[in-house]
Symmetry: C2
Subunit: 335 residues, 2 copies
């Protein structure tokens, strides 16, 4: 532990310049690897020594201002909305981006208006923006980002957005996949769980719509049922379950499925005899339930595919298409 | 959808200056609210109009360079290591920071050396750094950040770190709380689950040490047992469980507890008769297990308390102490 307890003052490039006996501009040329300026090897060494001695860290923002871009890749995301499924995937994506020299940050701001969001992201002048929940991207928002110099715009979304490299992620297909399976299993009155937790509504609504469009083509009905991720909310729903007249449920994801399964069983409602259940994400916990949960597995493009596309976009302005997210029904014992 | 499909060029303050008929410096004074420069109301209006017309977003980095600081609060965190327990808490913290005008970002970089981490964070010149896993903070790392102008350094850590506003989070107390309970329940051969997932080792090791120090004061033993968060790993552990001669386990958290509980039951091992289990975090799923899981609840300071402290640190360089994280044993049916 250092004995010296004074608070160190901020070190600037001026301090480095003074110690190295060069101009501040020369310090900037050396530390920011500015092209088109000749600095002798000995001067360069003197500057690097002085920076090291003073513990000077170059300012990424200053560097990005000079170079006209940063190495930041911004992912708009609230971490509680990012489920267990994608959290490992996002970590892996960050590692892959790191391989290319990018620094990935999650931006946690919540915005009612996509344009406000785009403006807030643009202020950080990232090299790229990668949105998992890209259905709120608009052409205007993309334009705000492009005009601010953001070169890589990649979004998971159900429909192509002008100016954005879109990876297909159609949440209606998730609800449709679950509903098709439940109807094939002979069920006709399907409840679709709508999680009440913030940030999930924009994902849950298209899943409901997908189930509804499948039901409309068969003699089946779909009823949205609200559920919060608490034991109390699940018990309340289970108590009024028989009054709803439903013989099946698609539960948004496996965690809500496990919660509802336990609550239904506590009310003496037998799964799957009285109610068939289908979750989503194929989490480890799905196989642990008794009976084991049927679920929709989401086959994602690999983090390396996304990182490659982001880098291509930043470097060249275009990128090869990335395969879409594909929902696959995994039948176990609850359906 | 706009018919015009050209990719818009980057808009800079020079474009705004041209349209407004003023100098680039004047644009900067107006858009960055620079103090000490007089700009007439009509010039100001002209600049704001031009910026709006062109869709120009000021550069946060440029603003931070001029103001000498940014409004960024950086949280080093891999999102998969941030458990379910803290993910809602982190979201709430981001909202509280937003109230003060800060933008919170999660920095996902992984670093073997705390100094490398500090340098990478320092490059972004945040106003503050908030570390949940602060035991890897060193006085040297704090100095790198302080010298780079970071004013708010707040870390959850077991011991005070020079130059860092420390919030007590002693993971040894979590392991000790679990071990004390298990010993009070008549158990003497305690397994401590060591999760093999990346990022969790630094949290699991002190929990093990805490259990060991309690066991050493009683006639009890502690045995670390490795477990990955997969069904296969849990089954393998359950199959060799009886050979380990353990009558209790503290499982790192509730998710590993649920996984191990199911695997033990599948091997015909009765919980709690043969093995008592204690998880951690008091998640919703703990109450859903059969039998319901005993657990260690972690009482955290509120997100508002942390945001207040961060803002105080940034504004004044000091802050009132924040209450430490407090582990509380919740006994249910597995112990």
């Amino acid at each position: 532990m250092a004995k010296d307890t004074h608070v160190p003052a901020s070190i600037t490039s001026a301090d480095v310049a003074r110690l190295a006996g060069v101009s501040r501009a020369t310090v900037s040329f050396v530390l920011n690897d500015t092209q088109g300026h000749r600095v002798s090897a000995s001067t360069r060494a003197r500057v690097l020594d002085a920076a090291k001695q003073l513990g000077y860290v170059p300012h990424a923002a200053a560097r990005s201002l000079r170079a006209g871009r940063s190495n930041l890749v911004l992912m708009p995301a609230s971490i509680s909305a990012v489920g267990r499924l994608v959290s490992d995937w996002v970590d892996d994506l960050h590692s892959e981006l790191d391989r290319y020299g990018y620094t990935a940050v999650l931006h946690a701001g919540r915005f009612a208006d996509p344009l406000d969001a785009a403006r807030a992201w643009a202020e950080l002048r990232p090299a790229a923006v990668v949105a998992l929940d890209g259905d709120r991207f608009t052409p205007r928002a993309a334009e705000v980002l492009t005009r601010a110099g953001v070169r890589g715009l990649l979004a998971f979304a159900s429909h192509p957005v002008e100016g954005v490299h879109t990876v297909g992620f159609d949440h209606t297909r998730i609800g449709a996949t679950a509903a098709e399976h439940l109807i094939a299993r002979g069920r006709s009155r399907i409840g679709v769980v709508m999680p009440q937790e913030r940030g999930l509504g924009t994902l849950a609504a298209p899943r409901l719509a997908g189930a509804e469009s499948v039901a409309a083509r068969h003699m089946a009905t779909v009823t949205p049922v609200e559920l919060s991720y608490t034991r109390e909310s699940a018990s309340a729903l289970a108590r009024r379950w028989r009054g709803l007249g439903l013989d099946a449920a698609f539960t948004y994801n496996d965690e809500y499925a496990a919660l509802l399964l336990h609550a239904l069983q506590a009310e003496g409602i037998v799964v799957p005899d009285e109610v068939a259940l289908v979750g989503c994400d194929d989490l480890v916990l799905a196989t642990l339930q008794q009976p084991a949960l049927s679920t929709v597995r989401l086959d994602m493009p690999t983090p390396a595919q996304i990182a490659d596309a982001v880098h291509e976009l930043v470097e060249t302005g275009t990128a090869k298409p990335v395969p879409a997210v594909n929902p696959v029904l995994i039948q176990r014992r609850t359906s």
